[in-house]
């Protein structure tokens, strides 16, 4: 219950003041002229002015409100290192007991867990949200029990009361970590990329260590160990071994007394991409399908196409003077002897022996394939003839022998059963709406090894793939693929087929027949095994902890087997199935929680200072609680302050007018009559 005087004027203040002034002037005149009743008149004027000002006595009934204290407990991964979790829990209980023992104080406890999507410790977000739910005028203080490492300092709220940090750090804490400074997501094969990493010691590290061991493993292979200096960035030149995903694992051994081993390993995944692909296309003669090949290869901007069409064979002797011909020389020696290794793919499109390429050159082509090159033969009727490319040293690598029959009848190309499993032709039907158009010519060939993935008339092989040595050869026993391109009878998936064929030949990792890989989304990985055989063995997963898990693989579509696996830990998983192996890194390359593991007030200091709060190490024991006034320093040696807010709510208000109208009337009339009487009696 509190009481106070307030005014509730009947007229505007200036008018009241003006009236008072006029009254005073009149009283002064009366005094000067010796009017005996002047005192009565002055008092009457005073009463009028006071009545106009309307004095009110106001009484309020107030309810006292409790102070609110926020306590934020950090339960993120970085505050669970070592004994930090226990330390935090103990301190939280002790502090809660003390706060609750205070009268008229309410404690709000908030627990902060790991942020989603590797966003780290969101302490300030939690504090802002908690503050938003409480009236600002009642918040008397806030305590953060944490390792002091937070990742949302920019979201710090404007605190109305002191903020204190009770951190879990120790003087003796130290940690060694690998920091990847820059890691490219993509790198061009056969070109060096530079990766910068640093081994850093944080905290109270043993000072005698100058170098640390660094194990580098590529794709889960046996690691190689290097000695690297600590605390200095190291440039690591890397040459990717293969296209597709390359997993590089860096690890430095865990030292005695380190806080955590979680940041001693870093996983970098770099996608290897090829530089420009060079393709040599040799068309034996101008024909309607020639442009199809060219367009396909030209449409891929990463392909450098060197194209030669034999427009005029050398045996042609018709007496035309050379100066009247405008022909481009075919630099056979340069192409087939000197620079053949530079090509990723050589396509012979309806090419036949014409005395242009001597046997020596074609033998070199065979060599080129055996050493890892790729040759695609798109056979026309020439392939069945006596001048066939087959009747040359290439014979040994071509997967089909021509029977010299050329079948000229309409047929619909089909994907064979094996082809359904082969990545080049698997799911080809789905790539095109409707029936495929027919082709009108097929060269009969006798398979000699290799895989028949498409067939034509009477199941005769149409598309054959084979591996020779380290290289690849394929034979398309028809030159009518262009009919699909031109939409003959509706056309067909010619672009997709030829694209996949060309990419398979150039060893794109995603078109390998036998492959094992995994795709990760968060902590779940989808393990995919592609195979030409009907049964594949189970997959063995080796977790980062060294455990082996064996999972069966389910066939989801022909030639594609899958399994799902939830990896509990962040880190490198090794997969093995049959003779194939793969590695995959789950989770972020370096979890943000483990980047900074030293506990302390480094991140929070400006916020603490702004509110007058302080930071205390929990290992030194819990500081005492003390009450301070607002705006005063709220922390000192061994104590931390809260500011009681004395907040209240008003339950009722009662107003009493001090000069009720009847009293005013009585006073004025009494005084005026008194003045009149006095003045009347004297005269």
């Amino acid at each position: 219950m509190t009481g106070s005087f307030v005014f509730d004027p009947l007229l505007p203040w200036w008018l009241i003041i003006a009236l008072a002034g006029m009254a005073m002037t009149a009283v002064a005149l009366a005094l000067h002229r010796g009017l005996s009743g002047w005192a009565f008149r002055a008092m009457a004027a005073l009463v009028v002015v006071a009545a106009l000002a309307g004095p009110v006595f106001q009484q309020e009934e107030r309810g006292r409100l409790s102070d609110i204290i926020l306590m934020i407990e950090d339960a993120t991964a970085s505050n669970r290192l070592g004994d930090r979790a226990d330390l935090t829990a103990e301190a939280a209980e002790a502090l809660a007991t003390r706060i609750e023992a205070r009268e008229n104080t309410v404690l709000r406890r908030i627990t902060v867990a790991d942020g989603v999507d590797n966003s780290g410790t969101q302490l300030m977000t939690a504090l802002s949200e908690a503050l938003a739910q409480e009236p600002r005028g009642r918040v008397a203080g806030a305590f953060i029990l944490s390792d002091g490492r937070l990742h949302d300092a920019e979201r710090a709220p404007d605190m109305p009361a002191p903020l204190h940090l009770l951190h879990t750090g120790r003087e003796s804490d130290w940690d060694r970590r690998i920091k990847i400074r820059n890691a490219p997501a993509f790198a061009i094969l056969d070109e060096e990329v530079v990766l910068t990493l640093e081994i850093e010691d944080m905290g109270n590290a043993p000072s005698d260590a100058r170098t640390a061991a660094l194990d580098v493993a590529v794709d889960g292979a046996e690691p190689r160990r290097f000695d690297v200096p600590i605390g200095r960035p190291i440039d690591l030149p890397i040459r990717l071994p293969h296209g597709g995903r390359n997993v590089l694992e860096f690890h430095t051994p865990v030292m005695e007394g380190e806080l955590t081993d979680r940041n001693n390993t870093a996983i970098v995944q770099i996608n290897g991409v090829r530089d420009r692909l060079s393709v040599l296309l040799v068309s034996g003669e101008p024909h309607a399908g020639g442009r199809t090949w060219r367009n396909l290869l030209k449409s891929d901007s990463s392909v450098d196409l060197v194209h030669f069409t034999i427009l005029r064979p050398p045996e042609k002797q018709d007496g035309v003077p050379v100066r009247e011909l405008s022909l481009i020389a075919f630099p056979t020696r340069e192409l087939f002897l000197e620079k053949i290794d530079e090509f990723d793919l050589i396509i012979f499109d309806r090419y036949k022996r014409r005395g242009i390429l001597p046997a020596l050159y074609l033998d070199n082509v065979r060599n080129y394939v055996e050493q890892g090159g790729a040759v695609l033969i798109a056979a026309g009727p020439d392939f069945a003839s006596a001048d066939s490319l087959f009747r040359s040293p290439i014979e040994h690598i071509v997967p089909g022998r021509p029977t010299a029959r050329v079948l000229e009848e309409p047929y619909r190309p089909r994907v064979t059963e094996l082809g359904q499993r082969h990545p080049v032709t698997a799911g080809l039907e789905a790539e095109f709406d409707g029936d495929w158009g027919q082709w009108l010519r097929q060269i009969e060939v006798q398979p000699e090894g290799g895989q028949v993935v498409m067939s034509g008339i009477d199941e005769k092989p149409l598309l054959m793939l084979d591996r020779v040595g380290e290289g690849r050869v394929s034979l398309l026993a028809s030159d009518h693929a262009w009919l699909w391109n031109r939409g003959f009878e509706g056309g067909g998936p010619q672009l997709e087929l030829l694209r996949r064929l060309a990419h398979w030949m150039m060893k794109e990792p995603e078109l390998e027949e036998e492959a094992l890989w995994a795709e990760a989304t968060d902590q779940t990985m989808r393990i995919i095994r592609r195979s030409l055989s009907e049964n594949v063995g189970d997959v063995t997963i080796t977790t980062p902890g060294g455990e082996d898990v064996v999972l069966p693989l389910q066939e989801v579509s022909p030639g594609r087997f899958e399994a799902l696996f939830d990896g509990p830990d962040i880190g490198l998983y090794r997969l093995a199935s049959d003779t194939h192996s793969a590695v995959i890194g789950l989770g972020p390359a370096s979890p943000v929680e483990f980047e900074e593991t030293m506990a302390g007030d480094m991140d929070l200091r400006p916020m603490l200072e702004a509110t007058g709060g302080g930071s205390f190490a929990l290992v030194d024991g819990l500081p005492r609680l003390r009450e301070v006034r607002e705006g005063r320093p709220a922390a000192g040696r061994g104590w931390m302050g809260i500011t009681p807010r004395d907040a209240f709510e008003t339950l009722s208000v009662r107003q009493t007018a001090l000069l009720p109208p009847w009293l005013v009337l009585l006073l004025i009339s009494g005084l005026i009559i008194g003045g009149w009487l006095r003045e009347g009696r004297r005269t």
Binding site: S278, S283, P286, R291, D304, L305, P331, E342
Partner: protein, 81 residues
């Protein structure tokens, strides 16, 4: 080139001031059906009309093959570097 992007740079129509088709026309025995020019110079004209025809077919079958060839020496140069 108005057809550059449409049809591999191959024009679908050729309009010229010369009667090439008449010069090409021949009967079953391979003899020309229509006379072209006079004497030796006429034969020369017929020869050039044939050559134009051959070139036209080559153009239709190979598209912009020839204009691509401009880049081949540069591509070959780049290889192996």
């Amino acid at each position: 080139m108005p057809f550059r992007n449409l049809n591999d740079g191959v024009t679908p129509v050729v309009i010229g001031g010369n009667d090439w088709a008449a010069a090409w026309a021949m009967d079953e025995r391979g003899n020309p059906l229509y006379p072209v020019g006079r004497g030796y110079s006429g034969e020369r004209q017929r020869e050039l009309a044939y050559r134009f025809g051959v070139n036209l077919v080559m153009h239709v079958l190979t598209g912009n093959y020839k204009s691509d060839q401009v880049h081949v020496p540069a591509l070959l140069n780049r290889l192996g570097q």
